[in-house]
Symmetry: D2
Subunit: 367 residues, 4 copies
């Protein structure tokens, strides 16, 4: 019951602080025989890497992942896979102020209150840098999923930045790779670029909503009550830094629907049941239907901003806090590959759980 772990059979424990020697993920339960190369994992890490454009922090970290165990001659052995990322950009600088002060909206104060000690350098364990380890672990999960469920596709993208949402009639998935915001709405990308430029210059930050979908997933993943697929997805996404809300399918908007509007009608298709709509986000009773699994989460704005905010010091004295330095005006951007990684980890875990309890494939036939 490690508090820094997630997953049941495919179990990931992340470790490390932002400015310590290294951080990483201990990945246990990967099926044997999965092709795993550091280069393939690096591909995913590079998508999350800071400093790639003017909209993300200028901190430069190669985020190079090393595989220390569990892989032999390019394949997983079934034993724990240790993924390590060295922290290279550890400038020796004066952290005096940060050490004695609590930034409003930041975990500084709660870590201090709880533990009585914290690695204040760069946020320590509460830094968004922790998510690099998740992305590396997600790369392992993706490799296993590729082997087990050919055709499964996980796609993350931004659907809202600050007050500006995408136009759902204008989404083109190929667009995602063409703009710095990973959004399928080219119009929104243009609008956000302008908006974010201004925010960045004024030292402000802003929130965002990310959507992650999985298509090609078989029906039958998940289990009742606390092994629900949506329970685990909710936990996975909410555990990402700065996330404050999670939705499955229609999410919070479900509240406004009537029963007849909400119930996705079923027909018999050539390959099994077909659905007229997907309000449920691909999950009924906690178990996947075979439709696209759709998850959304809201990322709050970075609390590290240039605008002065009132706070206190460790001794309780009032102070005005201004956070200088290299920070993301919209951390939500870099949360896109993180959300994808968490989706991959949860899906693989549930595939293994299903296979463990029920066996390969589905037990109940239709038609």
């Amino acid at each position: 019951m490690s508090l820094n772990s997630f997953g049941h059979l495919f179990r990931v424990t992340t470790w490390g602080e932002s400015h310590g020697p290294a951080l990483g993920a201990t990945v246990d339960g990967c099926p044997p025989g999965v092709p795993i190369e550091a280069e393939a994992l690096q591909h995913w890490l590079d998508r999350r890497k800071p400093g790639q454009n003017k909209y993300t922090t200028q901190r430069r970290e190669p985020d190079a992942v090393e595989i220390l165990s569990g892989v032999f001659e390019g394949q997983s052995t079934g034993t724990p896979i240790q993924l390590m990322i060295r922290n290279t950009d550890q400038r020796s600088k004066d952290y005096g102020d940060i050490a004695q002060t609590f930034r409003p909206g930041h975990a500084d104060i709660t870590y201090w209150q709880k533990y009585g000690i914290r690695d204040y350098r760069g946020g320590g364990r509460s830094s968004a840098r922790e998510t690099a380890a998740r992305v590396a672990a997600g790369g392992v999960a993706r490799a296993a999923l590729d082997a087990m469920v050919p055709g499964l596709k996980i796609t993350g993208y931004m659907v809202q930045m600050g007050p500006y949402g995408v136009d759902r009639t204008q989404l083109e998935m190929a667009e995602i790779e063409r703009n710095p915001f990973w959004t399928p709405d080219a119009g929104a990308a243009a609008q956000w670029a302008e908006y974010l430029d201004e925010l960045r210059k004024s030292g402000e930050s802003v929130g965002a909503v990310i959507e992650v979908t999985a298509s090609g997933l078989p029906a039958g993943l998940g289990a009742p009550v606390y092994g629900k697929l949506d329970t685990d997805l909710a936990a996975a996404m909410m555990s990402i830094n700065a996330v404050k809300g999670v939705e499955i399918g229609d999410g919070m908007a479900s509240a406004a629907l009537t029963g007849s509007a909400n119930a996705d009608e079923i027909t018999m298709g050539p390959n099994g049941p077909d659905y007229s709509s997907n309000h449920a986000g691909g999950i009924l009773g906690g178990i996947s239907t075979g439709q696209d699994v759709v998850v959304r989460f809201a990322v709050k704005p970075t609390s590290s901003i240039l605008t002065p905010r009132a706070s206190i010091t460790k001794s309780g004295a009032p102070i005005e806090v201004v956070t200088k330095g290299r920070h993301d005006p919209c951390v939500g951007i870099r949360a896109v590959p993180v959300g994808e990684a968490m989706m991959a980890c949860v899906l693989l875990d549930h595939l293994l759980l299903h296979r463990g309890q029920v066996g390969e494939g589905l037990r109940g036939k239709i038609g």
Copy 2:
């Protein structure tokens, strides 16, 4: 790693089907010496009980809880507490149709596909009746919390029904106990009564949003990354039947905020840090701040409605489904005590976890 369990140190496993002999909760990890009486647990169950007014299902179940173990002479012994609720309203009726048909928007089809067998009577394991066991377990958690954190108060209430939200300027907490919707907005209650009457008559249903707050909680509960208080709250709420979205503090609306608007400013109060606002919902970096913990979740409308919906049978033939019988037009109403119960379970669990790793109280002093 039971898929029907939740919690780490305070661990609840629910069991049972809607129309089997009984259902209940196995509660492990309760501290010893907590006063626990069946009557006190019954108090919470009665709030969730169906048939109390015209807005909830007319199924009549006394939902009487029996304590089978773990309590001796009115106190918890520290060993597992078994809470059992007999199912009394098991009419012998013809379930033939339900057994062969999948209701749109219901777990019928996924349970069948996954397991190849399901107790179709009343929804079996996927029935909202399962939440009675959670409410009973939540009663145990409340008793332990009362002993450990005097002054802690958990309050659940409805803030939206269908398209109609409460007026946040008009909330009066005493109002919650005065209307059948557990809402603190008397005006909304009147509006919803009319709205729901019409829906009920037309055989329709509708969704809702529930908010649950905890005041008087100490700072320091929660832990990094996957032991985050908000991670566990998100999982707890998402595991409730029909829930499709979970929010902490400002939730999805955080996306629209700027960093300066979002960062709750800190001052030094007489009893420790004070905050100018609570966008964070009482949780920073996964750890409680001492402010009110604020969680919201959306409940989708019941899929059991009179409006005919297209579906298929087990043999894949098309069929129109109409669900007659006694159903809640707005299941969200009865989700209020369930949300409170889950909050109680999660908070007690994190109190025990904190005490286990860190000891009594906070380690970091301020001022």
Copy 3:
């Protein structure tokens, strides 16, 4: 992480006290579609039932098991199976002495010290009655194993009582069902009968060694380090009341062997590898070889005896303790079906774990 649970995917939580209303087992993770009838479970419980002959306690409990959930139309549904056994022999008697006194060698004192409260009636949670719940859960595991591994056979028997061991050259498995000690050595059975008669008359008790074997188990079950098959077997057996030692294969005697004597030689048989001997007890590196799995455990003598022993009361005053009433002179006898049940639970759990991570069957072929 319930402290009253065991197993990973097939997870059993036992609950209940000796003289409370009931006790039982919450069994989660059973594969769906397994034929389960109360009568079949009762078969195993009856083997453990007290009062069957003069060598076991004369307490008369029918130990009738009720299935409250998770089974529908005679088959497991994949959801939690609740097994309940009512306590019927709850004589209202004066427990005054026991409540204030600690029996030497008994858990009275540690439960009191830890929790500050204990259900002293009949030993409460520490009573050997708890093992009835394990036997019921083991019946579920056996049913699942029967379906998954035809030909698997689990056999428990006594190999030592007090100072008298069996003659390994004289074992005949059919003999096990013919004597009250479940021993395959008819000569030992005769000797023990005489020995135990005398002990019983003098109000004494004695320890025993039980061996449990599983034949027909496939190779490949278990996993490195802490998922070792022998790790879980050791924990399972040591968790049984009064057990003080556990051995796999040659066990403690391995210490006296040389490497050449200990290494079971391998040849190629018609159905895969064959072994010249089985010092390893069917497990290498924590993973099953396909040979018989062999586990032994020692059960200490009951501390409830007529011989007076020095002890103290709750107030710290010296007292002489004599435990009258109905007690087993050799609790080891009734531990035989319990050991079998634990073996069944562990093996099923590891079958599911293997299938979850690796898939059906073995991945590495030989020959």
Copy 4:
């Protein structure tokens, strides 16, 4: 539910193979504020290090531990502590034979059968080298125990080598540090030196029995049924490579005792209950009594020996196996610090568990 993890609140996951780039332990749940230095951990690792005398393998590994996370300015922060040990002695040699052959008594064959892939270099994950990671984690546990339970002392030592046991009347604890076998019996040390010399020269190996005691432990650690202190100790010791038997207190010999001989009598001492003897090994009903906790485990002889043994290759062909190279004639020697480390991990875990559920100290007073 990582299969390479142990512990509940203090949770250790080991990772790494014998000849991969590194191995280590991810340690989660350590209380904050514990003084931890790499030098202190190194002290324990050095005791287990090979090549220190002629009785252990001549493989030379510095086994230098690096702390990668979770420690800040010399103190634990409460977040995961990553301990890494680089493998430096990775000679590039021809492993061709080992890759295709299964050593009798070794995990080669089961790893292959299960996973279809194995890192055969030096035994890969099944190598005793894995225990270095446990010793490092045990060092963290010791540091936390020192802070929480001053006066607690954990002592491991050898009590049997091959057929030769210690003379219990001749034990002197100071002797442990004076001989290469960590035994408190100087006479036995002399006898074993001669015996092992001969075995080593003939390319043979032999088993051993290790005893580990903990004195100064408070009463009240442990919990019923599957959270028993002895259950976790049994699992911890059995999970060590080559261990085949575990005993608590009198262990297997309990079987030969009568109830009156076995029941440790209780008197009232100046600091609480006193016991006339310790057959129970300091644990009653799974909960510590405050007496010395006494655990023993048997280590089988290394299967890597010069004596030829019959085996098969991957293709099923017969082959004679002789294992040349640097191997321990008695691996039991180096299991002493490993057993101590496991004891430390289990005790700390149970201290935290007790504090979590019950609070600081004992709830039930005596006298």
